[in-house]
């Protein structure tokens, strides 16, 4: 991905548009792999007996987070209630709290309208292209260029997501059920799982999450998945805090996790 570093001071006229376009170009390499995931989400929406096509497609601009949308549709199919779905979305999207914390310093001087709009577009790939890990926390660009690059990188992601999901819904009728194309969905989550697991507490979190979810697959309102995820996070977080199997020192944690996020978004879709 390319990175435009501008000199400090007031930007010259017209340069903001160029920075915006360089953001668009940088995001294209992340938007292309996101397209098939959007199509898969469209398939899942089409296959769902509970979620209508319009409601499912609308989740792409309402929630705008692939993994959470997949989980929400899965839970609704299982007959889950509103609370269980919203709780699952909260859990799966909780990493956005970290993205938000990581970017808040860099855009501190941005106007409120940008923070209102920018928060909406703070998905994995936009974080990957605009986070502090890109330039080791140092950013000499004028704030208007930071904003232009951010919004430019958000544009292809949002477009591909809305079009990809609609295509999946539309194409679903041409895919024979015997192909079991929906098997690609657990494969995608498997990929996200492996990309997001880098140390022993991560493996423990995954094993606990998987085991409890299998044992509790018939529990009401998708609570097996939730219980597994919460238990996994609590146990892994405790291990991490006491230094069991994780790299030591909070100072080393931040760049390490930022690097993983970048790798994750670069190699995959992971709208998640």
């Amino acid at each position: 991905m390319e990175r435009t570093v501008e000199m400090p001071g007031r930007p010259e006229a017209g340069s903001t548009a160029r920075v915006f376009l360089s953001g668009v170009r940088a995001a294209l390499s992340l938007a292309v792999p996101a397209l098939p995931i959007g199509v898969l989400l469209g398939f899942a929406i089409r296959e769902s007996a509970v979620v209508s096509n319009l409601a499912g497609w609308s989740s792409s601009w309402l929630v705008f987070a692939g993994a959470a949308q997949f989980a929400a549709i899965e839970l609704l199919d299982q007959g889950a209630g509103v609370f269980a779905v919203v709780a699952a979305v909260f859990m799966i999207n909780a990493r956005h709290l970290m993205y938000s914390a990581a970017l808040s310093g860099r855009y501190r001087s941005a106007p409120t309208w940008f923070k209102v709009v920018g928060s909406y577009f703070l998905i994995d790939q936009v974080f990957a292209l605009n986070g502090d890990h890109i330039s080791s926390g140092r950013d000499d660009r004028h704030i208007s260029h930071r904003m232009a690059y951010y919004l430019g990188s958000a544009l292809p992601m949002a477009s591909v997501w809305l079009v990809g999901v609609a295509s999946g819904i539309g194409l679903g009728q041409f895919i024979p059920a015997s192909w079991e194309i929906e098997f690609a969905i657990p494969l995608m989550f498997l990929g996200l799982l492996i990309l997001s697991t880098s140390n022993l507490p991560g493996v423990v979190a995954a094993v606990i999450g998987a085991s409890v979810a299998v044992v509790g697959r018939d529990w009401p309102s998708g609570s097996g998945l939730l219980t597994g995820a919460v238990l996994g996070v609590v146990v892994a977080g405790t291990m991490d805090w006491y230094g069991v199997g994780s790299s030591p020192g909070p100072d080393e944690q931040q760049p390490a996790s930022a690097g993983e996020d970048g790798r994750q978004a670069e190699n995959s879709e992971c709208q998640s």
């Binding site: 899942a44 296959e47 509970v50 979620v51 409601a55 609308s58 989740s59 929630v63 993994a67 997949f70 609704l76 199919d77 299982q78 209630g81 509103v82 919203v86 979305v89 909260f90 999207n93 990493r95 956005h96 709290l97 970290m98 938000s100 914390a101 920018g118 928060s119 909406y120 703070l122 192909w179 929906e182 098997f183 690609a184 989550f189 498997l190 990929g191 492996i194 990309l195 507490p201 991560g202 979190a205 995954a206 094993v207 999450g209 998987a210 409890v212 299998v214 998945l225 597994g228 995820a229 919460v230 238990l231 996994g232 996070v233 892994a236 977080g237 405790t238 991490d240 190699n267 995959s268």
Partner: protein
């Protein structure tokens, strides 16, 4: 509450929750950091949640289709896991994983 109302309400509230998460520090709090134990624990949300989504679909069966033999899925997931671990490329995982899955189905697993 009708099913359609439940679905829309879930997506609207899920969207509001997600927006508030994204806006939490960026817009609302500013750059005060999360408490360290919570910040570090949140890094494990992804593996715990994704594993909890994958495992029941592979070991039990999909809610989306009729299941006859789970073996092709399990074997394809093991293959996909090793592949992704060695070569972390999502498109490769999806293409190769589906190819192996269909091959296993074709030979009758």
């Amino acid at each position: 509450m009708s099913t359609e109302t439940t679905v829309w309400l879930a997506f609207v509230l899920g969207g509001i929750v997600t927006y508030l998460q994204r806006a939490s520090f960026f817009l609302i709090i500013g750059d005060r950091a999360l408490p360290d134990p919570i910040r570090r624990a949140l890094r494990y949300v992804a593996p715990a949640a994704f594993a909890a989504i994958v495992a029941p679909r592979v070991l039990d069966g999909f809610s989306l289709s009729e299941v006859t033999a789970p073996d092709a899925r399990l074997l394809a997931v093991v293959f996909g896991g090793v592949l992704m671990w060695r070569i972390p490329r999502m498109p490769l995982l999806l293409v190769a994983g589906m190819a192996v899955f269909w091959l296993l189905r074709w030979v009758g697993l």
